[in-house]
Symmetry: C2
Subunit: 387 residues, 2 copies
Amino acid sequence: MQRHLESSQRMKLDQLETPCLVLDEVKLEANVARMRAHLDRLGVALRPHLKTAKSIDVARRVLHPSGQAITVSTLKEAEYFFDHGIADILYAVGLTPNKFQHVTALRQRGAQLSVILDNIDAARALAAHARTTQDRIPVLIEIDCDGHRSGIAPGDRALLDVGHALAQGACELRGVMTHAGNSYNQDTVDGIKAIAAQERDAVVTSATALRAAGLPCPVVSVGSTPTATFAEDLRGVSEVRAGVFMFFDLVMAGIGVCSVDDIAISVLATVIGHQREKGWIIVDAGWMAMSRDRGTMKQKVDQGYGIVCDAHARPYTDLIMTDANQEHGILALRPGAQSALPDLPLGSLLRILPNHACAAGAQHPAYQVLRGAADEISAVWPRIGGW
Amino acid sequence: MQRHLESSQRMKLDQLETPCLVLDEVKLEANVARMRAHLDRLGVALRPHLKTAKSIDVARRVLHPSGQAITVSTLKEAEYFFDHGIADILYAVGLTPNKFQHVTALRQRGAQLSVILDNIDAARALAAHARTTQDRIPVLIEIDCDGHRSGIAPGDRALLDVGHALAQGACELRGVMTHAGNSYNQDTVDGIKAIAAQERDAVVTSATALRAAGLPCPVVSVGSTPTATFAEDLRGVSEVRAGVFMFFDLVMAGIGVCSVDDIAISVLATVIGHQREKGWIIVDAGWMAMSRDRGTMKQKVDQGYGIVCDAHARPYTDLIMTDANQEHGILALRPGAQSALPDLPLGSLLRILPNHACAAGAQHPAYQVLRGAADEISAVWPRIGGW
């Protein structure tokens, strides 16, 4: 697929076949610069989570020459980014025996791939595998900072059992990591700050416990876009993993982590019809293009399947995608709106901001890249999917 | 990608890297045979909707030698199926000018591609395009049988305006079509039967109106899996479009269109950990593998993100995926369950039945095909995505 387009090849927005995924490179750069400046002030490294972007072209704009370390959510992502020159990769989903061989194959090719786990059975199995293969796989132990998913609770002595099993085996115990998933459910900045402190405390406490038991713990890793954005003190933490911040989305805007104007990705759609007596405008982007994610449903303002903007990403007042079929989106004014339905004739080109960048992005094979107010695509960046 | 696997290449289920999409070919065949027998009894042709399957290998098992006509939801699907030898294709999303050239290019290559629209602006624009290109594009007018999406309401005189614009232009007015989307919201068989009658009446009435005005209407097309399953009388209808019936899913089981045992696709997942004090089992299939579709949420029984089965697709009593992160699924007993949490140690292989076949399928690059109780994959069938 063509990456960078010569000016003679550049398509205007209105020449693209819809639906497609548009990425504003200027907003991407601003979002990355802001996060990097914040973490620099806190003195902690960024290990970006590329599960949101799934694109080497995006990765190159997020990574700094001084640090080429990344986080991934699948071994396919690990393989893809390694094949594109990034070696220092953390696979941040609990490892099980049916993936050991894939991990080892990647490491034998030169990937500095590290993994995570949270239980003694996995630790023993991986230690045995490492002995057999003579591969000293680096491992972070997952800590459960807020009860939302996987991990060992801070203070649970299972931590030391797992630590000893890894250290006595043939693995490299590299440290601890956690993910503050509950930060997504906050609705105030103070709430997010409290979760960020809890996230930090959980891993710092666990790192202290490992070290007190004579075990190594060089890496202390936290990560979520809300906590990374509002953390005020990350002493004792060595790295932050975050991914959504590159693009942002309506869920993040809904909890105050960004403004709607910061959102760098949108789905380009075309008006295909109207049901005027109902106040509906029908477009050719449905849930296949937006994803089924309804993450704003439980927020203060439900954005349906997304906020509707004009072709230059300026939102129409109160116009959202209220419902979606596979390839049809229904646009209407949000409940209680005082504004009038805009006149959008057949063929009108719209850009729709998604609830969730990871989910909407995953529905598309590529980014159509433009810079700010330009209406010309400057590049097409492929993305990967699957496992 | 390898399509059919020689026995020496056949992987066991427990050799697959998870998550992945498993298709039981025996159930697929039974679902297709049942629908075909029902429609044969009603004397109406099946034009399967391949938006659910997006695979030529599935299409070959659905199509009958006597009829090679299909329905698609994107021009990419049209192109893919045409490239694999299927010529008679209906693109069933309202056409707009930015797709005219793509349609014409496919037709010039030999595709018997027909399109739909529901308004006078689209009809005039397409008629003008057909004149310019000397391409007599066949068009169905979309009818709105139940107010759920696009289409002209039965009895609305816009139908005749659109019909005349097409017939007087250079297009071929081929007929009318509708989709009974509200059939998905029923919770009784009688409710679905009533919607099926309403769906038929809407297009038959519209066809009668066109013919009374001297306009041609050879095709009268309906389609949704629930109405196709329970329709009792399709006199006046020439073809049925339906797609989900090939695989079925929990939404269809929830409204009584199939049994849970009929569901032909599932997501293979591995247990990666436990939160025992919470009664949680964590697997490596999250919403990326299941999709964000929560279509059973408003049904009588909410199945979360899916029903959990053993590796042979036998459901565990009351075990569902209650929550999902991108690559993590949380399994727990459904609220009010009396049964005990099954003992599923680290590494256990599970199959999870999805809410919505179209949405879950779209998350995967291929089907791992097996036959019934076999635990060996007999083929890998690629699927397409994107636009």
